[in-house]
Symmetry: D2
């Protein structure tokens, strides 16, 4: 149950980074949605390693195979299972780390939790698990598209560099995936500097959903805010999430942050498109805090399984900033949340939903 | 399903603010835990209105009645239902607002979602729903206590005023519930000023859990971070959540934020006690962004159900800053998350969990 | 979670038989359904004790109070909590049984499971828990009615006496609730005989749903058959369930039991209205095996909490045959299953569902 | 969600019979359980076609590949995904049936439910889906074994022939899988006769779990009986389930069916090992009604997608009696139910569970 997300649109991922493969099962996909494998592959290509000089140089083709749930190009309404084989798993790289708990990694807690662990590449805790999420996200986006909902996203901060503009057309035109061409250059520079110092750097990713009608989401425990909070904080390396005005509103007054609704539209969007847990028709806006990648080349003190400490330098091919590759994952999670909300509203009210 | 929280320790709230009452059902409480009604009442008293000059002057006794699941002072392991009657429901106050969508409130989205709504006092969207959460939290805290886990919390920011110290003993000694006596005075002043201007002000609440052993929480979708994100963002008026270093880490490097573990303990706590979604033995630290209360006396433009607009001044007795009353609610949600994680770990590994 | 039924239409019961009360929370009720309290009370009156000479002579008014989710006579779409106070709880009757495990009862297993138990009247294991189910069933029936689905049921066997006819109009005209006036008299006699011998007798209850359109229910794990199996076997004292031809088909051949569909309707109904787990448009037919009531006056050997045995005669006011009172409970469970299936199909396909 | 079974030990199957493959994801498997692939394969071999003259002559190797969750021969505690490729999918056989709804099959209801369907071999409604259940069952059995719980099962009735003995050692020694060597011969004859007449025949499968300690299962909605009811009625072609004395108890009196417990053990087992929904320490006994296979060679009238009727003779290689192949599936479902109950009890009470 810990590997599933959603109540009506249920997405379950599986796989270790150095096992035979990773994948996903989607249960609850509406039938009759046309989808090409290439559309799924396109999203996976946005997530995969080796895309630019500022992402990890690992080579994973990440070719997706659809095992079930599609027939003659449309969804059947039955579970859609997808599998991506692990091909560039250089497990030997990890032999030296077999009994070491890498700083900032999940090695120690996995050992405490399970008493056994696949030490190779983080096993289940690897970011590679998000392959399944992105494959599912591709299908969710396709289905949402049929009701006029689209999801965009980008890197809006790296270190101290913040994007000023939100020009989503720019996102795929720079390796940082920033919606601001000028800021993108500065961000790229900041990432390259960190990489060259064998270090990593943090940032912020923003995801926006357009076309969400009023009425999606639930009050109380299953607020849309809450679902987004869970969705985003389930992505590796994320440590914060804010909706609309977010933390910035803490310093303001109600007379400033109450969005005025003129009966047609909201003149401001401090609520981030969600009031009382339910979409209000404005853009749904979420920002996610991405911590600096924990895999760095710099020498670090690390505890060992035997109870002592050692010094390690993490070799290999790691991302100096995870933001560019978090973007498609966070978009996918937004899409999963909205799919679930859409289907739930449809259950509650019928076609109106 | 939208009113339930948790998978093994399932808490379901019910009730509208101006209906007969509000309450909660807890399913999954371990048997044999001793609990006094007064312990539950104590927590409810921390949440109830009318506690000080800077909270709403409404008078709700909020007397809890336990309907089931307790016998001779201990839990039976069966569902615990608790009921609190609504007594100060001045529904007439809301007659004028029957066809008005109050700015920042959920009135409009409820109408869009359900096509029908109880307009009196926000109905189900009222903060009054959290009565059930706090009652459940009292029981969760009691059970967690039996395994050495304690939860504390306080207001750490109001407007521009930030708490510098974390002296949790101070929290119940000032009306702001700040863990810093000096900052508390400034915060109180900021709240009083907002109140006197018929306005409201935002803030930040911090919750800390101590004694959580390594191994609680799950990887991937059900990360402890994700559960906390959902928990906190399901509280009315919250619009952001961060774990440990949170958004502050976005400007830092991995060499700064990788917590060093010396085999015994963590020397820093950027991870906020959670690595890879699983508790690592350090304090679990969460901060929640609380927006300024949406009910303000200042004149505001509001849309009407008929499609036009009007100007309203929200009369009545409202909180100029919600933080002091959010503290026990957020503590409760932390306790619910940890109960669930504890029971799940116990399922996975047995008593060790 | 063990006290909840359903995924989209979630019904959670609470309460011990000799505690303050029993009740239910329904989460997932569509908004805008008109419902009178008297309609709920009517169903509870069909379930309550003291209806005739062949049911227990306990006196419980079983007055329902709706705590939430209704406003001006219609459902709000929010959780509906209902409470029934326990008034005829003669707890002293049970003092002698405090350390005795009554044969056939759940006393022993509760003690083993929880280590603590409310011994009075079976506590949570009492049939009194079904009050909540029937209250929820009343609402489910009302909602199903809006899409043309109706649920009927009756006692079709008591001991060796079987109903030959299915005249559902007869059900409320005889104390056995049999759909066959002549058989009803024989059944009544069989029950009276058992009662006079301080014994009890078993029987079979049949529930039929009409107007279910094709397409409700799910394949594989969540088949409509499976949901009905869970629903019926969750009712106290039931030990078997069969759909359509049921166990009788084991002796037949496929050429006999394959229902012929002429494109308009099914000429036979061995499938009981469900093919491959999904409704096929024919009547949904379920039969439930109800064991003889375990509370009997005859002297019986019983184990004690201390590990020995004793002889007990269960005093008090018990049902010699539970079937008449199981009927409204089983109807309710059928209604809960169909509500869930309806809403799920609506989620999958929209209004068509 | 419709393809998942269980709450803590969650088993999700996927796959169509003529798509690339079928499989399963198990989430919630305790870590550290040793398991050999050959143990899983062994169970799959008991389910696969072509085992004897009285099962279908299709040839499916049903080779299982474990994709995740195992490392160096033990479970990791992470999701275990398993895949079996479809190799003998003779899809052309089904071209003639593309627009025909086979009698007794799910063709019609799938079309009604989804509006689209994979007509080849029943698609998702095929018995082939149970491959995933059996693979999961192999793991569940292994884990249960570690706490002394074993599951056995066999065919106890075919047509009018009933097994008299319960000699479970006999089960794998005859093609019918009957626990009674003499009855097995008669059953085999009855099946061969049905086959030779291009017909099929029904039967009853019994599953028994030994070593289940008292205290597993839950009261009310999640009774062990209810879980078994759902489990068994989710198996294709099952239309009835009974626990212990089952339907036979309907003709008896309470003085006959109240199992006497002498403080050490139960002298009879009318309750089938379950009292009030909770295991009582006796053997858990379930019987499942298996209808005659719907695929028969005899000419039958069938409706077409266009609304008319036609006459069909189902060619191909089908099981004249499904019971022998249902046995491993029903054993698996029993094992899944018990795994879930075990883990839940462990959550509730710790290691004792």
């Amino acid at each position: 149950m810990s590997s599933s997300f959603g109540r009506l649109f249920v997405v379950t991922t599986f796989g270790e980074s150095h096992g035979p493969g990773v994948g996903v099962v989607i249960d609850g996909m509406p039938p009759g949605i046309p989808i090409e494998i290439s559309e799924i592959q396109h999203e996976l290509d946005r997530r995969r390693p080796g895309q630019s000089a500022i992402t990890t140089q690992r080579k994973e083709a990440d070719q997706v195979e659809v095992i079930s749930g599609l027939f003659e190009g449309v969804t059947l309404g039955t579970p859609i299972a997808m599998l991506v084989r692990n091909t560039d798993a250089q497990s030997k790289d990890y032999d030296a780390l077999k009994n070491v708990f890498r700083p900032g990694h999940a090695d120690y807690v996995y050992f405490q939790k399970y008493g056994v662990r696949d030490h190779r590449g983080g096993g289940r805790s690897s970011g590679r698990e998000t392959v399944g999420r992105v494959a599912a996200g591709a299908l969710a986006k396709k289905a949402l598209d049929s009701v006029g909902v689209t999801v965009v996203g980008g890197t809006v901060q790296v270190g101290a560099v913040k994007a000023v503009r939100r020009d989503w057309e720019q996102v795929e035109k720079n390796p940082v995936r920033a919606p601001d061409a000028r800021a993108a250059e500065e961000m790229e520079r900041a990432i390259a500097e960190a990489r060259d110092r064998q270090d990593s750097i943090g940032g912020v990713v923003e995801i926006v959903a357009r076309g969400v009608p009023p009425g999606w989401g639930d009050p109380t425990m299953a607020k849309l805010d809450a679902a987004l909070g869970a969705a985003m904080l389930s992505i590796p390396a994320t440590k914060g999430v804010e909706i609309g005005g977010g933390f910035g509103m803490c310093e303001l007054h109600g007379s400033q942050t109450n969005d005025v609704f003129d009966g047609q539209r909201f003149l401001t969007n401090f609520a981030g498109g969600i009031s009382g847990g339910i979409s209000n028709g404005a853009e749904v806006v979420v920002r996610v805090a991405v911590r600096p990648a924990t895999s760095i080349g710099k020498p670090q003190t690390a505890a060992t399984q035997e109870g002592g400490t050692t010094t390690i330098e993490i070799k290999g091919r790691h991302d100096p900033c995870i933001c560019p590759r978090v973007v498609p994952v966070a978009e996918s999670m937004m899409a999963l949340v909205l799919m679930d909300a859409w289907l739930r509203q449809r259950a509650l009210r019928g076609e109106r939903g």
